[in-house]
């Protein structure tokens, strides 16, 4: 069950180009360049070959492009700090003004408690893990099916949809709203809030855009704080109540502070929909552009093992997260390069997933890879995505039901006209208009 990807993302993009061209790319290109930003695979391949820990001057970050080096970073959370990396990235260029706005109009500036380092991180993470076990998520499967069914039924008669705004985002927002215990009617606001939060680690907003995003985040925080106050007084069976009342042991540090709780609920809401929605949009894109993958999915829909593998390969071949940050806490060697203390790194997951030595013919969609889970799309080490089981389940159910109900999914715009959100944090389409017919 294998095919070679064609069209814009062809196989050659994962391989280095001619020597001189690669050297020029590494010398001159930056992830902020709109052309590179849209189709970065050739740039990644050139870096892997010539300069695997490459300093991108425009971004003022080191781009880590090889699987092995990303693994080294992820396995050493004290040398490679998420706390410093993430919070240095946040609203970079406008950080002070951004924080001031949140303090004045958003109920406070709440650093991300989960974007921290051990041992502090260990305590916070433990309080969140029980909510996300694979077994707990398995119990959610019927509920997720009902949500996807309902959504597809609403779209069925139309024969056309925007896969991002009509399908992927409503789906993931609906699930996370149910989990958190939030009212689904705020879905449009959640989509805006997600964009605003993600933009803070995206490095591609100007000051005016930052001001707009900050206003959105203020609104988000005020909304969440009000919900938390309600649950403090009147706990329910939902994750906001779980977090507000979470306790691990006794004494100091056994409960979350108010600031920590706001940041965690905010992170669950945003991370719980934005990245998974991107994966679902990628699913529709691949079905619309690669008939052989669509056929593969149809043939797999009734087999749980094959569906798990389909999801994993989809995540490998097109990771929703483009790059997350770390910062060195001491001088350290990485991939043959000496990095000073305070070096700001961006881990390029899509590049690691394209390494032909680990994933032969990396642009080939191959569900039978023996090391299929070796991709780094969920990150790794102590910071590995805490919601991965839920993400996998949402994608699996959506893929299965989509291919059963809809047929002949086609792009309604040219593939080269697809626009991506201006951020280095994710690779997310802004919009994806498609047409489809219905199966009998």
């Amino acid at each position: 069950m294998t095919i070679v990807r064609d069209a814009a993302n062809d196989d050659t993009q994962a391989r280095p180009g001619p020597e001189g061209e690669d050297a020029r790319l590494v010398e001159e290109a930056t992830l902020l360049d709109p052309v590179v930003h849209k189709q970065p695979r050739r740039f990644y391949a050139a870096m892997r070959k010539l300069d695997p820990v490459h300093y991108d001057a425009a971004l003022d970050m080191y781009l880590v492009s090889r699987w092995e080096d990303i693994q080294t970073v992820q396995r050493d959370p004290l040398t490679f700090s998420v706390n410093k990396g993430y919070h240095t990235q946040q609203a970079k260029g406008f950080a002070e003004e951004f924080q001031q706005i949140l303090r004045e109009k958003g109920g406070g500036y709440f650093p991300d408690a989960i974007m921290s380092d051990p041992p502090y991180h260990t305590r916070v993470r433990k309080l969140m893990e029980s909510a996300f076990t694979a077994h707990r998520v398995k119990d959610l499967e019927p509920r997720i099916e009902a949500v996807v069914d309902g959504l597809l039924a609403e779209l069925a008669d139309k024969g056309a949809m925007d896969a991002v705004t009509d399908f992927a985002q409503p789906l993931t927002i609906r699930i996370i709203c149910e989990q958190l215990g939030l009212d689904w009617s705020i879905k449009d606001r959640i989509a805006r809030w997600s964009t605003a939060v993600t933009a803070q680690i995206g490095r591609m907003q100007d000051r005016e855009e930052m001001l707009g995003h900050a206003a959105q985040i203020c609104e988000l925080q005020r909304y969440l704080i009000a919900k938390m106050r309600e649950r403090e007084a009147d706990p329910r069976e939902d994750m906001i109540s779980d977090i507000v009342h979470a306790r691990d042991g006794e004494g100091e540090g056994s409960v979350l502070t108010f600031e920590e709780a706001v940041s965690l609920i905010r992170a669950l809401l945003i991370a719980g929909n934005e990245t998974t929605a991107t994966a679902l949009s990628n699913l529709v894109l691949i079905l619309a552009t690669e008939p052989a993958v669509a056929e593969m999915l149809r043939a797999s829909a009734d087999d749980d093992r094959l569906m798990n593998r389909f999801v994993e390969e989809l995540l490998r071949i097109e990771p929703p997260v483009r790059g997350l940050s770390r910062m060195t806490t001491k001088e350290v060697e990485l991939g043959g390069r000496m990095l000073p203390e305070g070096a700001h790194l961006l881990l390029l997951y899509a590049s690691a997933n394209d390494e032909p030595e680990i994933f032969p013919e990396p642009r080939r969609f191959d569900m039978e890879r023996k090391n299929i889970m070796k991709h780094v799309s969920f990150g790794g080490g102590v910071h590995k995505c805490v919601g991965l089981a839920l993400a996998r389940m949402e994608i699996k159910v959506a893929a299965r039901l989509l291919v059963r109900k809809f047929a002949d999914v086609r792009l309604a715009i040219a593939e080269e006209d697809i626009a991506y959100l201006p951020t280095v944090a994710t690779r997310s389409m802004e919009s994806l208009p498609v047409t489809f017919t219905l199966n009998d």
């Binding site: 893990e129 694979a134 889970m373 080490g381 590995k384 089981a389 996998r392």
Partner: protein, 109 residues
């Protein structure tokens, strides 16, 4: 609470004798408590990552039991390093019947 002994061969081939396993804790938690090399447990015991994978000694395989469907899904996706007695140690809860258990840590993903 009885103390349960287990013998684990870590990822570098060193044999680690552990004598303070507690009933009710998982084999992964016990191995982490003793910093057994190769038991990483990235997902924290959620049966979602396969970085606490080990091979149960054949003589102990029946006592430990077989993976449930959720664990089976994970093991299927590490086919390159899977063996017949593969288990994820986060899914093995210690009890007195496992006193003396022998297992080997699987290579990293």
């Amino acid at each position: 609470m009885g103390e349960i002994c287990v013998t684990l061969t870590d990822i570098e081939g060193s044999v680690v004798e552990i004598e303070d396993g507690a009933e009710g804790e998982t084999l992964m938690e016990l191995a982490r408590r003793h910093d057994v090399k190769g038991i990483i447990a990235e997902c924290g015991g959620a049966c979602s990552c396969a970085t606490c994978h080990l091979y149960i000694d054949a003589a102990w395989s029946a006592a430990v039991g077989t993976p449930d469907p959720v664990e089976e899904d994970m093991l299927d996706m590490v086919e390159d390093i899977r063996r017949p007695t593969s288990r994820l140690s986060c899914q093995i809860t210690l009890h007195p019947g496992l006193d003396g258990l022998i297992a080997e840590v699987a290579p990293e993903l």
